[in-house]
């Protein structure tokens, strides 16, 4: 799971794009469906990518569009498992410090250049050294990248971390052409992906055409894709309903509205993509250093009520950093119970019977959730002043220039769970500004980073979930917030993806359209 604060928060609902996760199998649900291969799919998104230079992109939100033109070294399947892509396989000879990736042979970029270890190394070096690279953070544990052979690339890490293949399924693994990197002109991106760029207007739309020589030819079933930026959630719903776009992602309120168009639209919820939670910062408000205070505040949150009242049922209460059904979720860990009376007692025990008062920051899109929490806490005598700065304001106030004692964040629920725990709960973590420490949790996280065996990892994750779901740490999950993919019934081959990104691989337009 990769932590992130959503950046383009004007509309509140996360931008989601539709892209080809390169190594995903072609849709098997409708392999014989008659599709119009000359058709173009029109997709609505809330935010287009900021740059075709991946080193300058603002976050993982941009991955799906980038992966329509580029491929990654690794990818994710529907259930969030890391799968091969441009890297056919990988191994670690020393238990997670060094990784050898076997690159797919015979793959070419859209300009005809061969994809090989030289391109791969040039790309990773670019991410690590480009001035102001926004991807360098994802690769902060990478010490060096070496070319073993044209089809073998070696990553040497500073310390053991088995999450590297998962990290490379995100921006850090997207492969670009060495020539383009050398020239520094990214206006005409060159990748090995299923589409090539025809035209683009920043912040407006991009037009892509199918890459005829794509290394997985059956994955592309359309002539092209037009992606249009539609930021307003109501406008997005209108665009989908009126047929201006074939596919888009909407929030809870619009999803309810679109039910009346069920004759022409299909929908499915994205469940595990957006987690809202709370960061606590005892450095700015001393009472939060007391475990009892954090636990009291945690158990005074009516999560079920928030899901029902704020998210109109389009979500579920969260006590773990993993959604039920995805790898890493613990079925044995019990969630913290909603108990305002016990919360009051805990506060009194901690010496705060008269209540507390502090500043609470929240993204605009979670303003109502923050108000619900404010009401919950008022019942135990805790007063909070809710602030909703736009854009990256909450991230600044919580993590980068801390000014709020606590606040809501939004996390992306994909990639590696150990990586998520590292970023959220370790004392040195970027998202733990108050340095809240639990030695046992720290130890378990380090174990999870050094354990490649799935069974052993699952056991560690179980233990971590059991502790963190009832003992309030630096960050506390509150609710999984669903988004809904709505698409025209003329599209065939669409299938839900657990990580949230609807994938266009194998999607086509019915010939009768």
């Amino acid at each position: 799971m990769r932590a992130r604060m959503l950046l383009g928060g004007a509309a509140g609902i996360t931008a989601v794009l539709l892209a080809g996760c390169s190594a995903s199998p072609v849709d098997s649900a409708s392999p014989d469906a008659q599709v119009n291969r000359d058709a173009t799919i029109k997709v609505g998104v809330t935010n287009l990518q900021s740059s075709w230079d991946v080193a300058k992109t603002a976050g993982s939100l941009e991955v799906p569009i980038q992966k329509m033109v580029y491929d990654g070294l690794t990818g994710l399947d529907e259930k969030n498992n890391v799968i091969p892509s441009l890297a056919e396989s990988w191994s670690t000879p020393d238990g997670g410090k060094t990784y050898d990736f076997a690159l797919r042979a015979g793959v070419t970029f859209s300009n005809g250049d061969a994809f090989d270890a030289t391109s791969a190394k040039a790309t990773i070096d670019h991410y690590l050294t480009a001035p102001g690279s926004t991807v360098a953070g994802q690769l902060s544990n990478v010490q060096e990248v070496d070319i073993v052979s044209p089809t073998q690339l070696r990553f040497v890490q500073k310390q053991v971390d088995v999450s590297l293949p998962a990290v490379l399924s995100d921006r850090a693994g997207i492969m670009m052409d060495a020539k383009v990197i050398g020239a520094g002109d990214f206006t005409k991106p060159v990748g090995t992906g299923p589409f090539t760029l025809e035209s683009a207007q920043p912040g407006v739309s991009i037009t892509l055409s199918a890459q005829p020589k794509y290394w997985m030819p059956d994955a592309v079933r359309v002539a092209g894709v037009t992606i249009t930026q539609i930021q307003d959630p109501v406008a997005m719903a209108n665009a989908i309903r009126s047929g201006s776009v074939d596919m888009g992602i909407v929030g809870a309120a619009q999803a309810v509205d679109l039910k009346s168009a069920a004759d022409i639209l299909s929908t499915y919820p994205i469940k595990g993509r957006q987690l809202s939670g709370i960061t606590w910062n005892p450095d700015l408000y001393k009472p939060l250093a007391d475990q009892r205070v954090r636990d009291a505040l945690n158990m005074a949150i009516d999560r079920e009520g928030i899901v029902k009242g704020v998210f109109l049922g389009q979500g579920e209460a969260a006590s773990q950093f993993r959604l039920d059904g995805l790898p890493g979720f613990s079925s044995t860990a019990k969630p913290i119970s909603y108990d305002p009376e016990k919360a009051k007692k805990l506060l009194a025990e901690a010496g705060y019977a008269d209540g507390l008062s502090f500043t609470f920051v929240a993204p605009v899109k979670f303003a109502k959730e923050a108000e619900a929490i404010q009401a919950n806490w008022a019942t135990i005598g805790v007063k909070i002043q809710v602030v909703n700065p736009p854009g990256s304001g909450p991230a600044e106030a919580l993590w980068y220039k801390p000014s709020a004692a606590a606040g809501l964040w939004s996390f992306d629920g994909k990639n590696d769970l150990s990586n998520a725990y590292q970023q959220m709960l370790l004392p040195t973590a970027a998202y733990n500004p108050g340095k809240v420490v639990d030695p046992k949790v720290t130890d378990l996280i380090q174990q999870s980073a050094g354990t490649a065996d799935p069974a052993a990892r699952a056991k560690v994750f179980d233990q971590l979930a059991e502790i963190t779901s009832t003992s309030t740490q630096a960050n506390t999950p509150v609710a999984w917030v669903y988004q809904v993919v709505a698409y025209s019934k003329s599209l065939v081959g669409v299938k839900p993806w657990a990580s949230g990104f609807p994938i266009l691989t194998g999607v086509g337009v019915a010939a009768s359209k």
């Binding site: 990769r2 603002a58 926004t134 739309s205 406008a235 309903r241 009126s242």
Partner: protein, 344 residues
Amino acid sequence: MTPTTDLSVSPALREPKKQPTPAKRRIPVAGLLRSLGSRLLRSLLLFGAVTLTVFGLSALIPGDPAVSLAGEGATPESIAAIREQLGLSKPWFEQYFSWMNGVVHGDLGTSFFYHTPVSGLLMGRLPVTLSLALFAIIAAVLFGILAGMLAATRRGRLADKITTVLSTVGIATPNFWVGMILLILFSLNWRVFPAVGYTPITTNAVAWFMHLVLPGVALAAAAGAELQRQTRSSVSEILSQDYIRTARAQGLTRRRVLWQRALKNGAPPLATVVGLQAAVLLGGSVVVEKVFSIPGLGTLAIDSVTLKDLPVLQGVVLLNACFVIIINFATDIIYTVLNPKVRV
């Protein structure tokens, strides 16, 4: 010496009298130029003040652009590096003069977020907003003047009451609400017009027009209503003047009296209203652009605020300010030409 009859007649009477040029046809060029020169100077000073204000207000937007750009997993070092790269760590006056130097040389800087020249971004969005504003201005003028004339010539009658009610509704209703209603009716229910987006006229003229109808009407509603009221009031007043009665008594047709006398003499205040509304429509299309997801300057402005893309925000506001200054200047000229009193 025989006196001649010729000598008893003054030359003025003997020669045919030259008709003096009517006062309204004489335009004192020197005075006009002086007046325009003064206004031009004021416009330039205003432009300078606007640049300073734009820059100052941009700096007041809470938040650090470098944090936005650094993205997830950012470290203090990476944020500091980006801030340095963008020149955000320099003193504000240094940033201002650097920016102004660029502006004077036609360089509005590079977008923090899109990493492309701001001028390119603005030029990409300008035709969209201009198309929308032009459509709205034409629609507003057509509705406003026709409905206003109709109401003025039929005061107290049904036509007057209907157009007055319409204009009241137009003024009182927010343009985004009008847009939503139009969208639900004509796009979602009847599917006559597209719900969102924009097509360049160079790509498809019909699609361009179809995309502009709903947002254009929504945007024009208030301006048209305002213009209708002004026209009604202005023309009504003129129609009650003595010279109008005289013109009618001289046998001029009703149409000529209405269009050539009443409307012509009522034009100066209408020109002012059109000028003001044009400025409002150019800068005020933000919400309508959002409702219809039109990629114009308004949308770009909102995005740049959210993303803290200061060069783009400064560029958009500066461009809008230039438009307002130009429109005001043009309105002044038109008013000066139409109304001789102000030239004195």
